[in-house]
Symmetry: C2
Subunit: 382 residues, 2 copies
């Protein structure tokens, strides 16, 4: 590994694209005749193919979870704090697979891909994808990689929903599901925030019913607003206060509507940057996947009954100041697992950073996560 | 009182417009040469003019706080639950004054008024108004009404900030300040939500830098989004869940981006209605007044020191599920009052409705509010 990358990094990594010729029938009834997934892998698959860990990403995530794409790369993958040699998901012991989900905008088949039927980008015609659909596609990915059974499927937030769905859709194909900062389903308030984000995008004059590329434009304002709203819900009131307080950009009040407080310019900057790099149709799709996720729905709204389909072991983690998916939502899930007599470890981590805490290493979080994954590794002989 | 109006209503009421020829110099440095305030009054001013109560409104409020404008009127004023004969602010005992604040869009001088210098609507040229400015204008209103000292100044949310500012700006002109569901200043998160709302408005293609009237249009989408965001913060997660849960508009998932859950169509409807009736420039102004309010600022960020300027008595009320201005923010204020050796009664009311709880009568809230105002009435001989 080159000297200038941190020693506990997986180092230089490169994504690759896997093609799938098998049609995938989706929950909405539509079928993708063929499709691509972009993945990265870290570590080495053992001989028995028993040490594979699947990483599922959240709303705006992608396949690049760890390491660096070049020596000039200043930012590692989005979960580099948790994936690497000696880290909770230890790449000396595990073979880690990370993908960009279907419907994404980082290379996997999604709204920006070419619709084989028209020769044009799918755009708004790309079908709505559900968490179940993702898990289905991830199972076909496992087939292609020769992985019969994951040592663990791991995810935070929307990624945690995928880990949970894995335990229900393919109970024999994973040993452990690690569900972090997640929820068994969105609350009305969660859906309401998603709806504001979607409405911001679809009401942008540059959205053009989702065909903005044909108009050579992007719904930048809408996407910016969507991201600003999202960003507020990822942080805690306290952490925003700690980070920005009521700090002014200038020395005195300007008595105007330009960015006046630090938090305003920060949000605008983050929103603008995001609006240049993320696809609006993908954002709609990802938020809808969140809304629809509801494993209890098919079991007569009885989550405990739904959980009887699972046979893996669970680690559930929540964070004290997460108000997007509160610890109470994780406890709801844990209670259902216990009622269904499944094996579950649950820890609520004290951390001030709200929902984003699942991306930030804190001693207790790292300790618990490392200990659990260490047990998983030993179970598969690593 | 006509038979068909509720017997505990103040009955039919009519607004009136007061004109002020005295120039008003604002915190921003600009001066309004002359200006109007629209007010309503309920009850009778006693001979000694000692029984007057001022009602200060919140972000989207106005002068019509109680009673009905016509026999056909189906909705009473916005605080009819608390103002009327036998209600907490008992109009058999008090003379109640309610106004639309400067910068508003319900008849008082604001962005939709004609700028005397140009003969055109002020629009975006209307100056930024602060809570201090409002209190200044309300003191001039008191002068015009012949009220030397209010029995009480009362308000919820942004209205509570005005009641608090009264105690600091004119300590000798009020006996009591009632500060409900308010905060001594916004948190970074509060400002962030306001910024999203403002940005939604100003980035609407129909905003035209605030000169939408000149373009014969309205920034409806932006205002709708602003209201949707606001609305979410006024309700609690639990009350939204209670009201909407995950109820679908149709029987089954549609797998699309139209309103699918009840909460989505509710928010869209509320937002659309609001966007037709409220002025966008006023919305910007009101949110900025919230941001700027910070009485501790001038006292070296020492709220207790700031509170030493006050001499009235205080009632502070907060609501358990209010996450916009949490009970902790009220306690911060109460602690500062106690440190400054002021007289304060504080009650946290258990109520499930979030910030909106201050508009909803619950037994404990009504009891406490009635008892306190009863004491105020007796003090002024009513």
């Amino acid at each position: 590994m080159p000297d200038s990358l941190p020693p506990d990094s997986v180092g230089l990594v490169a994504p690759r694209t896997l093609h799938f010729d098998q049609p995938l029938t989706l929950a909405c009834g539509q079928t993708l005749p063929n499709w691509d997934l972009v993945i990265e892998t870290y570590g080495t698959l053992n001989e028995s193919h028993s040490n594979a860990v699947l990483i599922c990403h959240a709303l705006s995530g992608h396949h690049h979870a760890a390491g660096y794409h070049s020596m000039e790369d200043r930012k590692p993958g989005w979960w580099d704090t948790c994936i690497g040699p000696g880290k909770p998901i230890d790449t000396n012991r595990f073979f880690v697979v990370s993908l960009n989900n279907l419907g994404g905008c980082h290379g996997s088949t999604g709204p920006t891909s070419t619709n084989p039927e028209t020769g044009q980008p799918y755009g708004p015609d790309f079908p709505v994808i559900t968490v179940k659909d993702w898990v289905h596609s991830q199972a076909m990915l496992a087939d292609q990689l020769g992985i019969e059974c994951w040592a663990a499927v791991v995810g935070g937030s929307l990624g945690g929903m995928q880990a949970l769905q894995w335990s229900l859709s393919y109970p024999d194909r994973l040993r452990h599901a690690v569900v972090i900062a997640s929820t068994p389903r969105l609350s009305a308030q969660n859906i309401a925030f998603n709806e504001v984000a979607r409405r911001a995008i679809t009401s942008d004059a540059d959205f053009h019913g989702g065909r903005y590329h044909e108009h050579d434009t992007l719904p930048r304002n809408g996407l910016m607003l969507a991201r600003m709203v999202g960003h507020i819900t990822y942080l805690s009131d306290a952490s925003m206060g700690e980070k920005f307080g009521r700090e002014l950009r200038d020395q005195a009040y300007q008595f105007g509507y330009d960015a006046e407080f630090q938090v305003e310019s920060y949000l605008r900057y983050q929103g603008e940057r995001f609006s240049e790099s993320f696809d609006a149709n993908t954002y709609l799709l990802m938020t809808r996947a969140l809304d629809y996720f509801d494993p209890a729905y098919d079991a007569g709204n009885d989550l405990a009954k739904a959980m009887t389909a699972a046979s893996c072991e669970f680690l559930v983690l929540s964070f004290s100041t997460d108000w997007r998916f509160t610890p109470a939502r994780s406890r709801e899930l844990v209670d259902a697992m216990i009622a269904a007599q499944r094996k579950v470890s649950y820890v609520e981590i004290d951390a001030p950073w709200g929902h984003d805490a699942f991306l930030i290493p804190t001693p207790r979080y790292t300790e618990v996560f490392t200990a659990y994954m260490g047990r998983v590794a030993r179970e598969v002989g690593q």
